[in-house]
């Protein structure tokens, strides 16, 4: 069971890391290239942000992952499927967990939500008085807004994506043969071992509620801080 915990936790931690890195990159790009923040895969720009980005909010893992596995195997001659757990070192498992985490972050729309939140929050907070003051003092408004916009967009995206992340985790682990809780749930379900099946689900839900609690707590804390801002 410990092995299953390890792999699932590693995939989720990679997901957190990827989302944090993407948030920073997108924030910087949207500040550096003025038109970058408004591109939305649509002709009419911001008017159809919702519809334009809508397709990318849920890209089934079964669309992305088999394509990735095929391309890396046949074109780049790389194997992204997990190594055999008993023969692999911790370093191999750590590196192998990164690819499922990338697919998870894209397929659940986490990265798209972070991008959309950053764009929206910048528009909301730009007219704020503290931003105008920073401009008047010759400071960079992007720098002033970074901490607030970055944290809030990350937390909001995680809160709304959590159910999809944990739902897609099952299929991700099945596709990549990652020995995590999701794969264990699938094996127990195939064997119709209800006791093992529900105990693995309870462990997975435990991790889910820990993530939910942390993101809920952070969300409330940010909300309290925002009450003090004059907008």
């Amino acid at each position: 069971m410990l092995q299953y915990f390890q792999t699932t936790t590693l995939i989720l931690l990679w997901c957190v890391l990827i989302s944090c890195a993407w948030g920073v990159v997108f924030y910087l790009m949207s500040g550096y290239f003025k038109g970058f923040g408004s591109f939305s895969w649509s002709v009419r720009g911001d008017k159809e942000v919702g519809a334009g980005l809508g397709f990318f909010y849920i890209v089934p893992t079964l669309l992305l992952a088999p394509l990735l596995i095929y391309m890396t195997h046949n074109i780049f001659e790389l194997t992204v499927i997990f190594p055999v757990a008993s023969l692999a070192s911790f370093r191999d498992i750590l590196l192998s967990s990164s690819v499922p985490a990338v697919v998870l972050a894209i397929a659940t729309g986490l990265l798209v939500r972070i991008s959309r939140n950053i764009m929206m929050l910048k528009q909301v907070f730009y007219p704020a008085s503290f931003v105008k003051l920073s401009i008047a003092l010759g400071l960079s408004p992007e720098r002033q807004l970074f901490k607030l916009v970055y944290t809030k967009s990350l937390v909001d995206a995680w809160v709304s994506s959590l159910p999809w992340i944990f739902g897609e985790l099952l299929i991700i682990e099945a596709l990549f043969n990652a020995p995590g809780l999701g794969l264990d749930i699938w094996h127990q379900a195939k064997m119709r071992n209800l006791e093992g099946f529900f105990s693995s689900i309870i462990w997975l839900m435990g991790i889910y509620f820990i993530f939910f609690g942390v993101s809920f707590f952070l969300s409330k804390k940010i909300g309290h801080r925002l009450e003090g801002y004059s907008l």
Partner: protein
């Protein structure tokens, strides 16, 4: 020239020339928008191909009842005019299998989404209509509590748990869990929006002038203030339920062989792709991509209709 009863009224020549010039410019603008911006052209072309292909799958599945017979002598054939996507390892025509997958699973699932959304709207209307009575308020609180409980759990995990307990393969677990999940999700969001709408001035004005609750719910709510949310949520649910069914079929719990589903076609042929024959995998992924793109197009069309209606009213 003097107008008569029989002769049509003709415009002055200058205005006719102006109209012709305007029409020609708009045609040039349209052509320029298509070919002057290659990204736009490619995007529109992809959408047209996707929509045409999707409807051809639906129509073929409904009109032609071709049984996909096993024919081992014609297994793993490449794409030809007889077999548009070739055949699989059992010699079954792939195009018709995808048609059957559309008619057999995608269409009923989208029917479930429509039914759940309509039921949620009806239920919310009922709760709003009777919200002055204690029993309806109790119902409303119970519904919100149940929604919070169900919606806090991941949908795919719920569907898998139900299908394991149900002990049979097929669409019933996805349809059952999907109906209730979408029902409670929509009801919960509608009750939240109704609570916020009490502060809108046009709602308060309508109430002050003696307007009915149901009339307010439908005219100001469903057909006006809530329409954007309902549209995007409806299209999101269309994609969600299809993704869940395909996942379940891939894992072996949804629609299983010999009945076709995109999930079980992918699971049977992923190994073949890794061995160097990706034809079936790519065709399955193409059909899946098209199926997931169609709800986005529906959302775009509904949003465009909503903007036109709002522009006319204003």
């Amino acid at each position: 020239m003097k107008e008569t009863f029989l002769e049509p009224r003709s415009l002055p020549k200058a205005q006719t020339d102006e109209n012709t010039k305007r029409m020609r410019n708009s045609c040039f603008d349209y052509m320029r928008s298509m070919f002057g911006r290659p990204f736009v052209f490619v995007r529109r072309f992809i959408w047209v191909v996707a929509v045409v292909f999707f409807f051809s799958l639906l129509v073929t599945g409904m009109v032609w009842d071709v049984s996909t017979r096993v024919s081992l002598s014609s297994s793993n054939l490449d794409a030809t005019w007889q077999h548009f996507f070739g055949t699989d390892h059992m010699g079954r025509d792939l195009f018709y299998r995808y048609c059957q997958a559309m008619i057999g699973s995608i269409v009923p699932l989208w029917g479930v989404v429509i039914a759940a959304t309509c039921s949620a709207i009806g239920f919310s209307a009922l709760l709003f209509f009777g919200s002055e009575r204690a029993i309806f308020r109790a119902f409303s609180r119970a519904s919100n509590l149940l929604s919070a409980l169900i919606l806090s759990l991941p949908f795919a995990v719920l569907v898998l748990a139900f299908s394991v307990v149900y002990e049979k393969t097929g669409l019933i677990p996805v349809m059952g869990v999907g109906f209730f999940y979408i029902f409670f999700k929509t009801t919960s969001k509608l009750s939240q929006m109704l609570a916020e709408s009490q502060n809108f001035s046009h709602w308060q004005g309508h109430e002050a002038m003696g307007g009915g609750r149901l009339q307010r719910f439908f005219s100001y709510g469903i057909l006006s203030d809530f329409r954007m949310y309902l549209t995007s949520d409806f299209c999101f649910n269309l994609r969600l339920i299809v993704a869940a069914e395909i996942t379940l079929s891939y894992l072996g719990f949804g629609v299983s062989e010999p009945d076709p589903s995109i999930g079980n076609i992918i699971s049977s042929n992923i190994e073949m792709a890794l061995k160097g024959d990706p034809r079936i995998l790519f065709t399955a992924l193409f059909v899946l991509a098209v199926t997931m793109m169609i709800p986005s197009k529906i959302e775009e069309a509904l949003n465009r209709l909503r903007r036109k209606t709002s522009a006319k009213l204003s």
